[in-house]
Symmetry: C2
Subunit: 389 residues, 2 copies
């Protein structure tokens, strides 16, 4: 189970005929309360899909009763007509649930620039509301319905020490999908918390989990992470306790996203230590994680520390103060670079595991930060060129 | 001819045995005067190869008599010993030419993190000084000797209206070479100009040429562009006139670098118009040029405007103010996006030419800027993974 493991939730997923092929493409998650607490974070891209524009407004009051999600179309760059489609979807579900349209959040994923097929979508919403239920099958159906090029459905759950539960589903194949918008996540909890607590917990949890996955430096138009709290457990964990459970579920789902990144042959964990600040560490880690030369070398099982050091050197000193002569680099535990120069031979590094660990020590302080990425492979190019579509 | 087309220069290139395989790997360019004016620009990477550290100091007085360049090793991340190697190379050539070591600039390109084989290198310098000459063969030999994975030697020349000439050689396969440091350029002119004029002309010319080539967003540890002026023509063009000729030669060489980018199947010209400032236009152009999703789509002959718009949306509003609803995108002359949404069908775009032209109109002002890049291909991955080495 996942999103209906916490009390107070029902869900479902089905094939509404939005995707050209026969495949699940519509999911509902409904919060039956007693609370209708909701929080959400969205893509920082200035180009925002219609469902992002809608949901951002709808969740501003910290309340939501339901989320409707579709794959098969991102509804991005579709103008006022696309926004009207999202609005109509929210109103349709709201009518069926007898709630306000403002309490319905919408998520879409798929091709940018094309309108959604509204007739099958709305008919699917109607059908879905009749199938809403709790349990493992409903959770799995919802997780499957939001998949695009994901190869497996992604679910996770955790329990707080005080006994409240958190569940989640996610889609996103590491931002690697051809022409597809990226990451959609729905988290649920039966904790009895207000909107401010839910929002703080969600932001703290995503900052160190989903925000640290950087598969190919491309930011989608549709990224959305939603947390719904029903209060049905009657348990009211403190902010820190809730944050830890939300973080556990988020970290689990984020790691699943990296592991399912299409075309990837390595999951790459870049850890930067001894930085002056956490932001400095993250800036260096992100620059390394985004270097095509580093990523292609890892694909070739080459622990190329020269490219890692060169990537670190592209970060301005004002952002991350460090001396090049102090740089140390371990790849999979072998210190291939010390004091900015060659150290142990690269042939000592075993690059065959799926997970590659790059550890960079800046010698400039005591802060650290990490980013997850993937290698750059032939399959990435294939997936993202038109040959695959 | 190229670098010895301007009066007052001799050059040569030969096989000194620095590269493991038999291939030219050492070049000299000597300025016989009467002037010894010199200017140079270097990589902005904080990790700088020994020859960059040396040459930056050596050219600070605006004077240089010679440049020695080697392929087969970058001499980067080699510590004090590597710096001593560069120093020794400069002193060796200075002794043979009876000039100060401070008037010898050094450039290296090749693997990061390994020492240069100094015995063959210094013997090669000695031999090269005995072969120095002017003419097409010497120019071609010098251009060949700095090649790494370049498939063709790159040379260019131009003449100012007043009759001074400018010549140049360049290496660099679009920063795509496996484990290789990037772009080395030597420009020569017989114009009678002082160091301040040469410096101003070089910086203005590189800002709109070499600085606008961004093959894969990776910045090398060795990039160097040098301008030497002999004054041998006796012609003293004004700054603007000299700048134009240096820019013509630089643009010619920069375009040759893009055309020879290894693994590329398209040269991509990203032009951003109607921006609030030139910096805003360049920021948007660079973000698009660096998007792996855009670059992979072009490889697949897919004029994917959604990815172009999404990349533009990643630039912060503080850097490039524009309204998403005002965005217009032409690909190879076809307006596939208007007012931020779909316009003409992407099937109308002919993506078969080697050159792909992306034109983005921000509707936010009257400034413009452009960046050249390449597509992301299987060959890029292959070249930059260890499989090729």
């Amino acid at each position: 189970m996942s999103i209906t493991r916490p009390h107070g939730f029902r869900a479902i997923g089905l094939d509404a005929g939005i995707k050209p092929a026969a495949a699940p493409d519509l999911a509902l998650v409904v919060n039956d309360g007693p609370r209708d607490t909701a929080a959400a974070v969205f893509t920082a891209n200035r180009v925002q899909a219609a469902p992002v524009l809608w949901s951002r407004e709808a969740v501003a009051d910290g309340r939501a009763r339901a989320v409707v999600l579709n794959s098969g179309g991102a509804n991005a760059c579709t103008g006022p007509d696309g926004f009207a489609d999202t609005h109509r979807t929210a109103e349709h579900l709201a009518g069926l649930l007898d709630v306000s349209a403002q309490d319905v959040l919408v998520c879409s994923t798929g091709l940018i620039g094309e309108r959604l097929p509204m007739d099958p979508l709305l008919a699917g919403v109607t059908e879905a509301t009749q199938q809403l239920t709790a349990g493992g099958e409903a959770d799995a159906a919802a997780a499957r319905a939001i998949m695009t090029t994901d190869s497996v459905a992604k679910t996770a759950e955790a329990t707080t020490p005080s006994g409240a539960t958190v569940g989640g589903i996610a889609k996103g194949a590491g931002m690697l999908a051809p022409q597809l918008a990226t990451m959609l996540v729905v988290l649920t909890t039966d904790a009895d918390v207000d909107a401010a607590t839910a929002d703080a917990a969600l932001r703290a949890a995503t900052a160190t989990t989903f925000d640290r996955v950087d598969s190919d430096a491309c930011m989608s138009t549709n990224d959305t992470v939603i947390l719904l709290a029903s209060g049905a457990s009657g348990i009211a964990p403190g902010l820190e306790e809730l944050t830890e459970a939300v973080r556990t579920v988020s970290a689990d789902l984020a790691r699943q996203l990296v592991a399912d990144a299409e075309g990837a042959s390595h999951d790459v964990h870049v850890v930067v230590r001894s930085a002056s600040t956490e932001d400095a560490a993250l800036a260096v880690a992100r620059e390394i994680a985004r270097s095509n030369l580093v990523k292609a070398a890892i694909f070739g099982n080459d622990p190329n520390w020269g490219r890692i050091v060169a990537a670190a050197g592209c970060v301005p000193e004002s952002v991350a103060p460090f001396a090049v002569d102090d740089l140390s680099v371990h790849v999979n535990g072998v210190q291939v670079c010390r004091s900015g120069g060659a150290h142990r031979d690269r042939s000592e590094v075993d690059m065959t595991p799926r997970e590659t660990r790059i550890e960079v020590d800046l010698g400039a302080g005591s802060a650290s930060g990490d980013i997850w990425t993937n290698d750059l492979t032939h399959e990435y190019v294939e997936e993202n060129s038109a040959y695959s579509s």
